[in-house]
């Protein structure tokens, strides 16, 4: 499995109920079910991916997760995972509030915009960065929110979201290996992965 998903899986308690928003073909949920007897549920917009997940035996709702998440009663899930999707959400705050309403804890990951490679491209080439983590041009990117590791930390503090874990990792988008960075994560991490709760 992808390194970042592996790391997320390590935070999930065995036997818990997990909602994965933007679950794709259900890879993470399937792994969690096999390895940790997790009761997993997913939401995926794309019909082909959602159908593929259901065909493989994962419970998935096809739909827009920012809408779908509203129907669940409070604290339905032990964990809600939003993996590498926050940068595509038009209104991150209400979505995160919903996530922390339906889940006791949330796992949120995103590509770190403040990574040194992005900074260099902007500084030296004077162009919007295009990197393996952010592979799109300015006009066709689904990534409409620019999130830096540091920004997200501030954002959580400002809106009363408790950060239980904040990890910067260095990994490629599809890589099975990676590194947790203790030192200068905002500069060196390609992705930020946070464990959040709202007391």
């Amino acid at each position: 499995m992808r390194y970042d998903l592996d790391l997320i899986a390590s935070w999930i308690t065995p036997g818990s109920r997990v909602l994965d928003l933007g679950c794709g073909q259900g890879e993470l949920l399937e792994f969690l079910h096999e390895a940790k007897q997790v009761r997993g549920f997913g939401v995926e917009q794309d019909e082909a991916k959602a159908a593929s997940a259901i065909s493989r035996g994962v419970s998935v709702l096809q739909g827009d997760f920012s809408r779908e998440v509203r129907d669940y009663p409070d604290k339905t899930f032990d964990f809600v995972v939003l993996s590498q999707t926050l940068q595509q959400v038009p209104e991150p705050l209400p979505v995160l509030e919903q996530i922390l309403r339906v889940g006791k804890k949330a796992v949120v990951s995103f590509p770190n915009f403040a990574h040194w490679r992005n900074r260099c491209q902007l500084f030296f080439q004077g162009q919007a960065p295009v990197t393996p983590e952010l592979p799109y041009d300015w006009h066709d990117t689904p990534n409409i929110r620019v999130i830096a590791f540091k920004d997200f930390t501030r954002f959580c503090n400002r809106y009363g979201i408790t950060i239980l874990e904040a990890v910067g990792v260095k990994t490629d988008p599809a890589s099975r290996s990676g590194l947790v960075l203790r030192w200068l994560p905002n500069l060196r991490a390609t992705y930020g992965i946070f464990l959040l709760s709202k007391e």
Binding site: S55, G57, P73
Partner: protein
């Protein structure tokens, strides 16, 4: 539901010859109905495919739509050119795999394909019931099916599966007998009919009632209300397709002619198609049954019957797992109705999967060969079976 003359699959993926059997109950004690009336004896025509596991864990009940019957798969005889109505889905290695599952399908109460309905003799008079037949509900159909399953020694269903009005039976099963239904697969259906849907049914019923041969439902010894029933069927077929499907299938093409006839012949292909479907339907279906069954479907309101108006309350009991599927071009049971159902299931804390399949064939899509649908159903069944074996359900 439409009829599709699916080609019988090669023997390896067909259940082969299937025989309709009859089960009769309520001979001594009449079967009470939701309307307050009762009826007895009651006969249900049914077919089964595959083998029931010794522990009874692999039973799958298939519920048919408005005008279907017990003959869901295989051939009735070697001379029969037309396989069962869901031949594409039921058989060895198919979406509902008869190598793994024991499949039961019965004709609904009120039907005219072997089960007790208005065309049957009323024991009180010896004459066909006609309009003296009591009005039945989807719930009555389901309770009759339960009596059949008890007779077959089945106490638990791995899945109840159906589309359209069959899907309504699926939902009623899950709400009425939650401890018996491990998983429910509801296709192209709704928790209640929309006003538009009731309106179509009403026009169809009026076509029958206005036929001069209808004779207040007592037409079994003379001419049948064939024109009315044919028009009712034509209306049905319009609602089963979609604008896109009709453009695709017929467009403005003319039928066997190069120019207009300047008369009221069936010039257009679509006219010819509807007339043909109407003609074919009156050969096999009873007009009274059509009245009673459409009525039952219109009366159906799952949340009102089982949850005081709340879908979440309806499904708050039991542990049934759900798969809900809608089709993008279905305007008879549109996707929003499936989503409302899913919303209720989520609020009730049920394990539910939902997929809207992109398909141009309108409501009929659930009856057509569709690898995606077959994959969804088989995957859902497989996981349910697996979890059941592991004791997770």
């Amino acid at each position: 539901m439409s009829e599709y003359a699916a080609k019988i699959s090669p023997d390896s993926t067909s259940v082969g010859l299937s025989h309709t059997r009859l089960f009769t109950f309520a001979q001594d004690e009449p079967f009470p109905l939701e309307s307050g009336a009762s009826i007895g004896p009651v006969t249900l025509a049914y077919e089964t495919y595959g083998t029931l596991a010794p522990d009874g864990s692999n039973a799958v009940l298939v519920c048919h739509a408005l005008t279907g019957d017990a003959h869901a798969a295989g051939l009735s005889s070697h001379a029969d050119p037309k396989p069962g109505w869901w031949e594409v889905m039921i058989g060895p290695g198919k979406g509902i795999d008869t190598d793994k599952h024991f499949v039961i399908c019965s004709n609904v109460l009120g039907g005219c394909m072997g089960s007790t309905g208005p065309a049957c003799a009323d024991p009180a008079t010896g004459q066909p019931y006609g309009l003296d037949f009591p009005v039945i509900t989807i719930g009555d159909m389901v309770r009759a099916q339960k009596a059949l399953l008890e007779h077959l020694g089945i106490t638990r269903l791995l899945a109840v599966i159906g589309g359209s009005m069959g899907g309504m039976q699926v939902l009623d099963w899950a709400a009425r007998f939650p401890d018996m239904v491990v998983s429910a697969i509801a296709l192209a259906t709704a928790a209640k009919h929309s006003a538009q849907h009731i309106a179509f049914h009403e026009v169809a019923r009026q076509a029958i009632l206005a036929d001069p041969d209808f004779n207040a439902g007592s037409y079994y010894t003379g001419n049948k209300p064939e024109h009315g029933l044919a028009v009712a069927r034509m209306i049905g077929h319009i609602t089963y397709l979609s604008d896109e499907a009709m453009r695709h299938k017929f467009g403005r093409g003319l039928q066997d002619r190069a120019d207009f006839s300047f008369s009221f012949e069936a010039d257009f292909q679509v006219e010819s198609y509807l007339r043909y479907q109407g003609r074919k339907f009156v050969e096999r279906f009873d007009a009274n049954s059509f009245l009673y069954i459409t009525r039952a479907a219109d009366y159906f309101d799952l949340a009102a019957t089982h949850g005081g108006g709340s879908l979440a309350k309806t499904f708050s009991n039991g542990r049934t797992r759900f798969l809900v599927v809608s089709f993008s071009s279905d305007w008879l049971y549109p996707t929003y109705q499936s989503r409302e159902l899913v919303q209720g299931l989520k609020r009730a804390g049920r394990d539910v999967s939902f997929c809207e399949i992109e398909a141009q064939w309108g409501h009929d899509a659930f009856l057509l060969d569709n690898p995606r649908l077959a994959g969804l159903i088989s995957g859902h069944l497989e996981r349910t079976r697996h979890d059941l074996e592991k004791g997770l359900l």
